[in-house]
Symmetry: C2
Subunit: 299 residues, 2 copies
Amino acid sequence: MSVLVVGTTALDSIKTPVRENPRLLGGSASHAAVAASFFAPVKLVGGVGEDFPKKYVALYRKHGIDLAGLQILPGKTFHWSGEYEVNMNNRRTLMTELGVIETFQPKLPAAYQDVPFVLLGNIAPALQHSVLDQMRKPRFVVADSMDLWINLALPDLLKLLKRVDGFVLNDSEAQLLTQTDNVFLALKKIHQLGPRYVIIKKGSHGSILSGPRGMFICPAYPLPAVEDPTGAGDSFVGGLMGFLAAAKGAVDANIRRAMVYGSVTASFCCQGFGLNATTKATRARINSRVKELEKLTKF
Amino acid sequence: MSVLVVGTTALDSIKTPVRENPRLLGGSASHAAVAASFFAPVKLVGGVGEDFPKKYVALYRKHGIDLAGLQILPGKTFHWSGEYEVNMNNRRTLMTELGVIETFQPKLPAAYQDVPFVLLGNIAPALQHSVLDQMRKPRFVVADSMDLWINLALPDLLKLLKRVDGFVLNDSEAQLLTQTDNVFLALKKIHQLGPRYVIIKKGSHGSILSGPRGMFICPAYPLPAVEDPTGAGDSFVGGLMGFLAAAKGAVDANIRRAMVYGSVTASFCCQGFGLNATTKATRARINSRVKELEKLTKF
């Protein structure tokens, strides 16, 4: 089955203590779509400007991503620029040029409206609502978000949480949303806001799911070096949704392995700037890391 | 088989945002010895002052801990006082009265010198050396330490690392020692300092082992509330060493499960002030949490 992915399609200029890379392909939808493409066919919803490099369209196509829902709009592509400290957990935004994303309105092609797995990647909650409004009867909807929307669009986000099956956020966002730094309590409080599945991401510490079958502690694949963690969270949820869409059986039965596959896909993302390392991953390399992770966690 | 535990035997006055508890039984040796006692016979090495409450001697005895190596010295018991912030990962020392610990010299009774499993709990590296000097031929020696000794007694600590089989420290200490925040690299660098087994503790994020059979990612038991994390690290390594001492077969074959048992023992520690919750644990309750943890991590 297919996955619909909506989110930002952006140009990222990323600085780390080691290197600087201007105008890489980035955005939540780009990372999530490429990650999902290792498992299932992907349909992308997004908006870019007339300056969007052709090589990035080619990159999407290389991963078989359906671009019927990618609008090319008059103006400039959303451009984010950020800097990481030596500790890669600390990043600061240097500059944000919204460009076409400011007025972007998702318009779903007819062929998109029956896709069973919907990933509402990180973008304004109003746009996530708009995509959901255009879907006929999706089987499984997961939303991602970020601190910006918790701070600026909380009412919209809270309404969205009542419409989705799953919600994915990182630990600092969970703390911001629930006012507790206890992950166990945060999961509980977020369930009360709507979603049956809640996943809190903890970067290199892995992630935790709370769902109808209880909790699952998902490990992160240990890396000797992190080149650029931008998009790792999007890759995680993209890989997760791709795996779910491709797997037979109920979501409940597959979601733990889906998280592990998402986690491993995210590990590739961290090993290069932008999508450089993710695009070099293969299903075979992903499978091999999942097997390693099984060995690393068995007791 | 038995475990020898050396470390501090102290009185802890602990303040959290919720409560204040004066003069609890604390210290690395107290926490580790009680934790180990759920699995194997324990012989304690330590020094307390004449003010050391009889009820705490009774607590040790309740756990069957051999106190032949506990010296009662003229003067006051080591007294530490600290305060936790709302985020329990942040704690600050309010006051330290060294008392008898300042001049304490471990003297091992003859019956202690052939104990096969030796836990050099957190205390000055010189005292850890002194205990090791008095042992005949221990089968497996693990040392714990803290930032204080990395800062104040690094040459002694580095010498110790060449004499032990395993070294356990937390992530911030590993970063201080190795100058890298990448756990993978930190493990590698610490191996080069001597120990064949290196374990980095990450609090509620679990712990990571690197040993002759590769790495192991050990989960933490998720708790809905943490009352007081003081001594959790000591309980972890105490439980680990107790489990190893009781298990049949090679350390290599048992150490992963030993870490899981240590992790669960530490979870009890966090649920009460001082040793209040640890002492209420039982082997059956520990086993049941280990089973839960197996379910929580299976994929």
